[in-house]
């Protein structure tokens, strides 16, 4: 069992569902990032994925896409993101993951990047454009450092495919709640229940559910079905509209 999974399982003893949040590094600024992370941790977030911006974020919807592009346009560099992450993991003691696209790792040097992340006390990676077929070397390197190469399930994944993915994953599985990109609402309906049952039967790993989770109702619905609720776009929207200070109360109200 990976360290990340162990931490998750420990938390799950106190909490029926964990919360994972997301932010885009450098958007709207590293200072605001820091404030937002503080609010999140203080209000009970269990894991945070920090997205290193990429110019071509294909799997992301308009909101996160814009955050990626503005961060880069304002001059955020990968090195800056890494240094910032190091400061954050020192200051806040929950598991942090890197979310980004493969080219960021590839261009940096795959092994160098993974080792650097390890040094920064990052617990795992979410790389939406790196299926296991393309990520052999990545998977080996990440696991060698006892970090988690998070795998993604989708509603279109068959049971066999899920099993295959799970074998390559660690920490938890990121279950994409529906078709489409980040940032749109999800209808949690009968189909979803059937899907999450399928996920559960394919792997013993904890299940995180993301895409379109916005409210306490959504989190309540997931409680008992999934292990982690992922809040992505919603906090970015919140910070845009009401500032970093609004994040704390929002998170506090989710569970």
């Amino acid at each position: 069992m990976s360290t990340l999974e162990e931490i998750i399982r420990t938390h799950l003893q106190d909490s029926r569902i964990l919360l994972m949040t997301h932010l885009v590094l450098g958007y709207p600024s590293f200072e605001v990032n820091r404030e937002v992370i503080g609010q999140m941790v203080q209000n009970g977030v269990d894991l945070i994925e920090m997205q290193i911006p990429f110019s071509e974020p294909v799997a992301d919807g308009p909101m996160i896409l814009k955050a990626n592009q503005e961060s880069i346009a304002k001059g955020a560099r990968v090195e800056e993101c890494l240094q910032f992450a190091g400061e954050i993991t020192k200051e806040f003691h929950i598991p942090f993951l890197f979310m980004t696209y493969y080219n960021i790792l590839y261009k940096y040097g795959l092994e160098e990047f993974i080792n650097r992340a390890y040094d920064l006390n990052i617990k795992g990676f979410i790389i939406p454009d790196l299926p296991p077929e393309e990520g052999r070397e990545y998977l080996d390197l990440v696991r060698k450092q006892d970090m988690a190469p998070i795998q993604i399930f989708a509603p279109t994944s068959t049971k066999e495919r899920m099993q295959r993915l799970a074998e390559n994953g660690a920490g938890f599985i990121y279950c994409v709640a529906r078709r489409g990109v980040t940032g749109k609402k999800t209808d949690f309906d009968q189909d979803f229940n059937e899907y999450i049952r399928r996920c559960r039967s394919a792997t013993p790993l904890p299940l995180a559910v993301g895409f379109g989770i916005r409210s306490k109702d959504d989190v309540d619905f997931l409680t008992g079905k999934a292990d982690i609720a992922v809040i992505g776009t919603e906090t970015i929207r919140l910070v845009d509209e009401k500032g970093a200070a609004a994040v704390g109360p929002f998170i506090a109200g989710l569970r």
Partner: protein, 409 residues
């Protein structure tokens, strides 16, 4: 199963999990049709009744005499329906979509050429059609938008990123991950995740098959060199495939040199030294990117060459030395275009004119008993707004201003 589609180090299928099944299905169908001679026959039949295949190989006698070297032959993809080689790929994928039973197609477009071709195909096959086009390109290429809409397509301006081709591709992928059950994404060039490079190259190979036969008939032997412009690389690979096995035939890809390789404002991936290996838009190739891996803004007078990546198949052939690369600057392109119009009465697209530039530079070094082929990927008359603009034609400007005055009334 998906772990195919590599050409040397290049290619792959870096796709989000949600599309895994879609690609599995696409691969299965593609593998099937590849083996099915009847499919290819149907394709050739369609192209010969709906478009104008085989497209001619024109002997450019005046240009040949002017340069005094090898004979110049021009492969006339401009005579395809919709005016460019894009039709080949699009009609082929259309037949595949019919087999797959899907009812909707989407596509990205830069200059609008691939968008027009896709909208045309969708009208012909009765598919719903949505085209993603960078907002800036929508502004620049309004005539193409007009025709796409008239053929029943919905054109969605993409307002993210640099608002050009690569952003349109991203946006098309975003549509696809939402609608993959009903929808096929008709990628416009030999890039993107496997099987697209292979598939597009396969459909485009019709150019090279014809060209090889035609040059043997017209000239009695193989050409010394074959020139083609390279955006994504589909027209180039299309013709190159006809001569790949013929080691004596040099294959030359010509990229957009924009304002010069030194200026940074260009789109030369393989001819210059600004590109580096990367993974984006679902595949691994040489990209114009910064040291962080962020993609750069590119520039070319020819919208269809103005792209960050290049076919993984071409990158492999470049690495192996089978295809040589050169770049043509915007101003060289305008000169070559002018010369070709005046000497042959032929109007190459700005994209295609890049191939002409390099051919003109080299042809005099070859003997009179040699021939070269230039692949003319499309016609330039669709580019009146860009070309008249680039030449700064004053009567054109007056015409537009006068027209605008009428519209303001």
């Amino acid at each position: 199963m998906i772990k195919k589609g590599y050409y040397g180090h290049w290619g792959g299928a870096f796709i989000p999990e949600i599309l895994y099944e879609t690609f599995r299905e696409l691969n299965t169908f593609f593998e099937d049709v590849k083996k099915d001679q009847a499919f290819w026959n149907e394709y050739v039949q369609l192209m010969s009744t709906y478009s104008c295949r085989p497209t001619p190989l024109t002997y450019a006698e005046n240009l040949s005499n002017r340069f005094g070297g090898a004979r110049i032959y021009i492969k006339r993809e401009d005579l395809n329906h919709t005016g460019a080689h894009k039709a080949n790929n699009v009609m082929g994928q259309g037949l595949l979509v019919k087999r797959m039973g899907k009812k909707r197609v989407i596509a990205e477009t830069g200059a609008g050429q691939h968008g027009v071709a896709t909208a045309t195909m969708a009208a012909k096959f009765g598919f719903d059609c949505t085209i993603y086009m960078g907002e800036e390109d929508v502004q620049r290429q309004r005539p193409n938008v007009f025709w796409m809409e008239k053929m029943g397509a919905t054109v969605i301006p993409v307002t993210d990123g640099s608002r050009t081709l690569k952003d349109a591709i991203n946006e098309a992928f975003r549509d696809w991950v939402s609608n993959m059950d009903s929808t096929h994404y008709v990628l416009g060039t030999v890039c993107g995740p496997h099987p697209f490079p292979e598939m597009v190259a396969w459909f485009q190979s019709i150019i090279g098959i014809e060209a090889r036969e035609q040059i043997l008939k017209a000239f009695g032997k193989l050409p010394a060199r074959v020139y083609a412009c390279v955006g994504g690389g589909s027209n180039a690979l299309g013709i190159f495939q006809g001569f790949m096995q013929d080691d004596q035939v040099a294959l030359v890809g010509v990229e957009a040199g924009g304002k010069g390789l030194a200026s940074g404002e260009h789109a030369a991936r393989l001819a210059g030294s600004d590109a580096s290996p990367g993974v984006a838009q679902g595949y691994k190739t040489m990209f114009l990117q910064n040291s962080d891996g962020q993609m750069l803004d590119t520039h070319s007078v020819a919208a269809g060459l103005d792209y960050i990546g290049v076919s993984p198949i071409l990158t492999d052939l470049w690495e192996k030395g089978r295809v040589r690369f050169a770049a043509a600057t915007d101003s060289e392109v305008m000169d070559a275009l002018e010369l070709t119009m005046k000497k042959e009465g032929i109007i190459p697209a700005l994209e295609s004119a890049h191939g002409f530039v390099q051919a003109f530079k080299e042809v005099q070094n070859l003997g009179k008993d040699e021939a070269i082929i230039i692949n003319m990927s499309g016609r330039g008359d669709k580019d009146i707004f860009t070309i008249a603009n680039a030449y700064g034609d004053p009567s054109w400007k007056e015409f537009i201003i006068a027209r605008a005055e009428q519209y303001k009334k």
